[in-house]
């Protein structure tokens, strides 16, 4: 009902959405990019593990969560505990 449409004739040029970080510095052993995230969106959980010092952390996620959100939750949890 009088709904607008885009006038773009060629396929719209999509902005390149920069991918977010996938590897992170460990807040414990401080090794760079040593932490990797495994996301299980089916179970709404994710785990981040440092492959150097083997510290790990688990958190709840949603289907829009990104690995960096898991890392941020870990840093926040550490700061809270501190």
């Amino acid at each position: 009902m009088g709904r607008r449409k885009s006038k773009r004739k060629p396929p719209p040029k999509r902005k390149n959405i920069e991918p977010l970080d996938q590897q992170f510095n460990c807040p414990f052993c401080n090794h760079e990019k040593s932490c990797e995230v495994k996301m299980d969106k089916g179970r709404n959980t994710a785990k981040i593990t440092c492959r150097v010092c083997l510290e790990d952390f688990q958190t709840g996620i949603n289907f829009l969560s990104e690995p960096i959100d898991v890392y941020n939750d870990w840093v926040d949890a550490c700061e809270t505990a501190n």
């Binding site: 009902m1 009088g2 709904r3 607008r4 449409k5 885009s6 006038k7 773009r8 004739k9 719209p12 999509r14 902005k15 390149n16 959405i17 920069e18 977010l20 970080d21 992170f24 510095n25 807040p27 414990f28 052993c29 401080n30 760079e32 299980d40 089916g42 179970r43 709404n44 959980t45 010092c53 083997l54 510290e55 790990d56 952390f57 688990q58 958190t59 709840g60 949603n62 289907f63 829009l64 969560s65 990104e66 960096i68 959100d69 890392y71 941020n72 939750d73 870990w74 840093v75 926040d76 949890a77 550490c78 700061e79 809270t80 505990a81 501190n82």
Partner: protein
Amino acid sequence: MESDALDKESAAAALKKLTQGESPESAAKVGGGVVGSKGETEVGAPPTKRQKTVEAAIEQEEEDDNEEEYLEDEESEEEDDDDDDSDGVDEDGVPQLVPMERVQSTQNSLRAFRRIPVFIVDYHNDVLEFIYRCLGTRHLPLEGNTLVHFDSHPDMVIPRHIPASSAYDKDAMLNELSIENWIMPTLYAGHFSRVVWLKNSWCQQLPTGRHDFKVGHKEDRIGVDCPLDYFIADGNYCTTEDLQEPKSVELQVHDADNENLDPKHFLTEKDAKGFVLDIDLDFFSTSNPFLEIYKDADCYNQLKEIFHFESVEVVKKAGTASIEDYLATADRRQTQLDALKRIFWHLEDQRNFDGLEKPDESVITPEIYAKIVRLAETLQEKYPDDEIDWHLIFDSGSTTDNNGLPHHISTSEELEAYFANFKRFLERLPVPPVAITMAHSAQDDYCPQDQVAFIEDRVLRLLQEVFREKLHEKAILHYMDDPWDVMKL
């Protein structure tokens, strides 16, 4: 584009905090994770970690019998260290952290922005990039938010070519959606359960008032049981029984140029955590860009006749409308659009009517078919054939419906009145929004390009005047590729 959330300095700062002593009182055992009904991990105790400097290690040994053996080992190592390790670091500078027990997260609570961010795009659907991040980072609850949508258009078209299930596929949504259909998938996914469309009275696409309806899917296509022309005209009306996985939606439509408009009538403090203020600058001044398309051939007026359909509003006003009427109208309309699309797509491919199978006369009457032929002749008289884009003409025709797109390029005086109305609305808000999204809509010539910069500037000033220190000083200009990171807001 979103940049790295935690740079090296931040990580070092976090690490520095971790190396400071922790009082025994704050140490707590970590409970085991329990998977809840939604698969989220829950714990009975707050997360904890043990860490120590030399002093803390000694205290821990004295006060925690359960960890005595482990801590004695640590203390022994530290005593053997001849370097100055009073700050708890070894000779390589790595803090001597005790390997931690697994930290289970309780970080499922909402995050809060320090100040209200403002995210400005050109094409309106691009605000979803920011909204999705807010949902992912828990700055907004995943479901049940309220969208207060200032716009000259509802933007609630249902995207028929996109499967309903794609509403849970962020990449598909960001790539496939367009300016007219970006809201409905968010309603289908439950991210928003309330939309308040604030328009000026010269916009007529939806009647004012409250419209409660269900959104769901039928054969993996989004449908609604709302019998408004806006939805019926696209063939997206479904009976409630036909909708799978229905969700309730509250749609409110109000005239923002009504002095009596008070947001407290539909917003309360309960909305504080999940309220997005969305402003399309074409709310203040808008053109109908399709009026300009092939103007020399009077294309738009011819399309209005070709695409005309019988509104269901007539029988509704007579009080005799039934669900069968809604379904029949929706079906008739979709059949008509499909037939017209076949014709226009043929013209785009073949550039003439040769080989085109005549449509069913009950769908496209001979009179209407003659109008299409006349339109083609007029266009070919006025424009070179290779300039005639039949796909665009079809899109233009499908915007005509029975009311058409609003066309109201505001004068300076009108703009001042609309700014005043907008400011009054903001001042009456019972709670500030969590985030503000804004769209120019100028690339597509909806907001006039010679007005958009001025309108943007004024709107930002108004937001600053009302929200003051609650508002981020600098808006994120997505259309200028400003870097952004929701974790730094």
